[in-house]
């Protein structure tokens, strides 16, 4: 015992007593450095996590909010580029906004979201979205005003804002509630007491310390996943919440539907910016879209009209540009060109200056979109007369299965925002911004109500096991690195999971994901230090990213039709006879179990069957939510 005491003393002097301790006279490694006890644990520093924390705190729960980055300054929330909207009727009558279009009622918004989803929306979730969103939208707008942030009104009832301003508004709202905030901590896995979720284990990214969170309920507000090389989202989008919910036994759905947006491929410094989205909507912006050879990609006139004024532009661009790439006519990095060669330098100047002055300067500093220099981009366009544009995966429809109270399929776990599924079916219109806020606040309230009078046993044994598994990376001697793993995920996804999928391509992708999964059981780290070891963090994220990509490919293979953001080269028709269903995945005894479910109908009957050409479906089903006006008049 004397020896143990000496060791303890030595450890204390050297500052290593947080890593090793003496137990029964033996020196053992400390696996868990810290324990946090709370009632509701909200995970995620964006709009879903913040509003969940606020919702739970207002119901009187003790709340802890844990974020991988800084709260209100991380995740996809700050990437909003961007606006959010409520129905014009509520804006006009409930909040007295006289410029709002009062003809756009809740019913119209509901019908449009469901129709534009290709009828895969869960209608009870859409009802919650439409009914409860005006209040939280208005409240967040007030937080923005109080925090001195610009949210600029546009018809029908939309506010144009930057992601940075949204983040600041959320921080302001959160400040008014009693919430414990823990930042720069990545959650690794959920804790379970029998069938109930009872907390989580995380890593402090800076110190490498491992933290056990004991909670009565957990809300996921962790965002989506992005498995491709081209990135237009925050680097956080690794599907952590979706993957850990799945490992904990929760059902996932709609993983095959990945949303693509026109995204800069060049010049290098703006690669990943979604600036070209504004070219499409701005009525003064003229360009021809061409393939790599300079031949025009013709979009029929009736579709061009839908593209410029409604949110279906995304589908039309995915279909026509995607087809060009599929036929081998795209650029070497799977893009197309926006061509300005018909225009003079003055005309290009005027066009960009109009975009900057009529829209971007409302919310960004002059000449910028976020931190990207639009005038430098303009000069590039003038010099080359054309610019490469790709299709970047910006949002994931799929994720954790929830009901209208944001309950997942397992007790004690709730989900909100992009990591959930069900609101938008196969094609998101309306706003992901609204989704995160309206589901977040509801999830927080539901979790707080559930937590009342609940007793939960701390899951110490499971926490130890997770910590041990998390630290195993440091002991691996041979294997692939996290960098290699991520490059491989991207290579497989670019080839097999991207736009216009085929049976053969998906089979190969699934097989390759599985081989990679085995290799990734033994990832190695170059640095053995726990201090800001990004390779370690990336290894953990890569496992989540791979799991999400694999489930996406598995569901994409099952869906032998084209619908919304899922296009199949070998099954080009929208098949209402067989695929008006959602695919569900669930882990049972370590095996992925697939099933299907019909979306719930509350108000809008689903049309009777048939097989339709994809483009005809878009033209003939009263689709196309017009969510924001970019015209001069406000």
């Amino acid at each position: 015992m004397l020896l143990a005491k000496q060791i303890a003393g030595f450890l204390s002097k050297t500052g290593k007593d947080d890593l090793y301790k003496v137990e029964k006279g033996v020196l053992v490694k400390v696996l868990l450095n810290k324990v946090v006890n709370t009632e509701v644990l909200a995970i995620g520093g964006g709009g879903a996590g913040v509003t969940a924390a606020i919702g739970a705190a207002r119901k009187g729960a003790q709340v802890t909010l844990v974020s991988k980055g800084k709260v209100g300054n991380s995740g996809n929330t700050i990437m909003i580029g961007g606006s959010y909207a409520m129905d014009g009727h509520s804006a006009y009558y409930k909040f007295g906004i006289k410029e709002a279009d009062k003809e756009l009622t809740k019913d119209i918004l509901f019908n449009q979201i469901v129709r534009d989803s290709f009828y895969l929306s869960e209608q009870d979730i859409v009802e919650q979205f439409v009914e409860e969103s005006p209040d939280i939208i208005y409240e967040v707008k007030q937080w923005a005003d109080q925090a001195g942030q610009k949210f600029i009104f546009r018809k029908p009832a939309t506010w144009n804002m930057s992601g940075n301003a949204m983040g600041k508004a959320l921080q302001h709202g959160l400040k008014q509630e009693d919430v414990e905030i823990i930042e720069d901590v990545i959650i690794v896995d959920l804790l379970k007491d029998g069938d109930k979720v009872c907390g989580a284990v995380g890593i402090d990214i800076y110190s490498g310390e491992i933290i056990q969170f004991n909670a009565k309920a957990v809300v996921m507000g962790t965002g989506g996943y992005q498995p491709f090389t081209l990135k237009n989202t925050n680097s956080d989008m690794t599907g952590d919440g979706v993957a850990m919910a799945f490992r904990a036994g929760a059902q996932l759905a709609d993983m095959e539907f990945l949303l693509y947006l026109v995204t800069c491929l060049e010049p290098n410094e703006v690669k990943g910016s979604i600036l070209p989205v504004f070219f499409v909507f701005n009525p003064n912006f003229k360009y021809r879209v061409t393939d790599a050879n300079g031949d025009e990609i013709v979009i029929p006139k009736e579709l061009k009209e839908i593209e410029v004024k409604s949110e279906l532009g995304k589908l039309i661009e995915l279909y026509y540009y995607g087809k060009c790439v599929l036929e081998g006519r795209g650029t070497e990095d799977d893009g197309v060109y926006f061509d300005f060669s018909d225009m003079s330098e003055d005309e290009i100047d005027d066009m960009f200056e109009d975009l900057i002055k009529s829209f971007l300067t409302e919310v960004y500093k002059d000449g910028f979109y976020h931190g990207d220099d639009v005038r430098a981009y303009k000069e590039f366009c003038k010099k080359h007369k054309r610019v490469k544009i790709g299709l970047g995966n910006e949002y994931t429809h799929g994720g954790i299965v929830i009901n209208e109270k944001m309950e997942s399929s397992i007790e004690g776990l709730y989900a909100a925002g992009e990591c959930s599924s069900g609101a938008f079916g196969s094609n998101r219109v309306a706003d992901a911004v609204v989704e995160m806020l309206v589901q977040g606040i509801r999830a927080g309230k539901s979790a707080a109500e559930y937590s009342k009078n609940k007793e939960v046993n701390p899951c110490n044994k499971m926490a130890q096991e997770i910590a041990k598994e998390t630290l195993r990376y440091f002991e691996n001697k041979k294997g692939i690195s996290a960098v290699e793993a991520n490059l491989e995920i991207e290579r497989i996804s670019d080839k097999g999971l991207s736009f216009f999928r085929t049976e053969e391509g998906l089979d190969q992708a699934i097989a390759e994901y599985q081989q990679l999964e085995e290799k990734m059981n033994n990832m190695v780290l170059k640095s053995k230090s726990r201090l800001y070891n990004y390779e370690w963090i990336q290894a953990i994220q890569a496992k989540n990213r791979l799991l999400c990509a694999k489930l996406s490919a598995i569901m994409a293979k099952e869906r032998k039709e084209s619908r919304g953001m899922h296009l199949r080269a070998d099954y080009p028709l929208v098949d209402d006879d067989n695929f008006l269903i959602r695919h569900i995945a669930e882990l049972r005894n370590g095996v992925i179990n697939l099933s299907t479910k019909k979306p719930k109908v509350t108000k809008l009957e689903i049309p009777k069957g048939g097989k339709t050409e994809y483009i005809d479906y878009i033209l003939n089903n009263e689709m196309g939510l017009e969510n924001i006006s970019y015209e001069e008049e406000r």
């Binding site: 300054n73 956080d236 010049p267 410094e269 976020h370 990207d372 960098v483």
Partner: protein, 100 residues
Amino acid sequence: MKFEVFRFNPEVDDKPYYQSFDLDITKEDRFTVMDVLNAIYTSHDSSLSFFSHSVCNHGICGRCSVKVNGKVKLACTFMVEEDLVIEPRTNRVVKDLIVR
């Protein structure tokens, strides 16, 4: 181009040092400092710590700032045109380019 990068792991190093990396890039490649750090991390030394989690890469979050030739700049928007010395923003170093 040549990049002198500040390195320090307080767990093993007695004092900071500078490590030199040669990257086969030119001004025309329009690299940002973040691209340079990513290239070093991906192809040369994955033990380099620089701001890498929750990166917006478009000048939004303001968390990736480092000293570039002595001046504090955002890594994700600062354009690389010449050889650079890259150092942490302050002297409160956690590891390499990461500060508290």
